[in-house]
Amino acid sequence: MGRKWKLVICITSLLIILGLPTEVHAHGVVIKYTSDIEIEIVATYDTGEPMDGAQVLVYAPDDPSTPWLTGVCDDKGHFTFTPDTSKPGIWDVKIRQAGHGGIIHIPVGEDAVATGSSGGGYSGLQIVLMAACVTWGIIGTALYLSSRKTARKRA
């Protein structure tokens, strides 16, 4: 091969190298992800006792009359399900056991929040304080009326 051809090959190779796109494709890699949101329900009585064996009905936003899923809480009052993320909106979960229970509304999709609660969520101290206030109000009323009656008798 003459010097002329060697020069042509070198220039052509250089042009090819310089002309390559910056993006490099190695072995074919396909990366996918799916967003599975697992929702855990914890159902307890206001005493803290778990709703062991309570029935659970889950309603999807597109059909609030037919349960999308039914189940039962475990012995710790836990129930876990994965909502269909193609149905964004408010998912309703009804829990019931022996006439006790409630409903919780869980937003799924853009408005999803990490945690939520359907109960009052009072601490033990708050409950004691509220009970004491109401009790004192009732007893105070009784004492007030009683003192007025005594005062009238003395007069």
């Binding site: 064996g53 029935q55 019931r96 022996a98 229970g101 109401v134 009784a142």
Partner: protein, 213 residues
Amino acid sequence: MHIPDGILPASVCAAGYAATVPIAWYSIHKIRKGGDPRENIPKASLLTAAFFVASWIHIPVPPTSVHLVLNGLLGVVLGHFAFPAILIGLFFQAVMFQHGGLTTLGVNAIVMGFPALLSYYIFRFGNIFRKDSNIIAGVFGFLAAFCAIGLSVSIFVVVLITNIPGGFDVSTERAAIYTLALAHVPLMFIEGAFTAFVAVFLRRVQPKLLVRA
């Protein structure tokens, strides 16, 4: 024994209120006929407070737990004041602690208040004995509270079993309701014994506090 909001259909809640109104009216009518109602208001207020707090005293009865009701005691001590007292107590329980509910206030008043009124008449039935004694006060005090809890549980069970919504497994829910009802049997004896003790104690130290007339 408190039925919360969202458990019963609207028609049953409305029927509960409809049944509560005439019983409340009857109680108030009898209170007015019984002289100056202000004399008994301090006593009624104290027992309303006791009823309000009692629902937080839980007694473990495996596999569940039950709470004190004291409707029999209120009937024995308050007489016709018992129903309005329980109605007020239930209102505060629903508003403060979501124990029960405002939509089901009428139904809960029937569940707990009506048996209280009946327990008053059971206790008064002891008057058929000419001789007033501690034994009679104790026996009829026990019967009054025993029957009050029994009737409350019976109404509670009937209301719930006839109103199990679609979607829930009826047999599972029924079994849970029956289990809860059975758990109240010890409470019938506990409240019966407690009311008998209170009736005997009051008869000894302050007989005027017992409504026997």
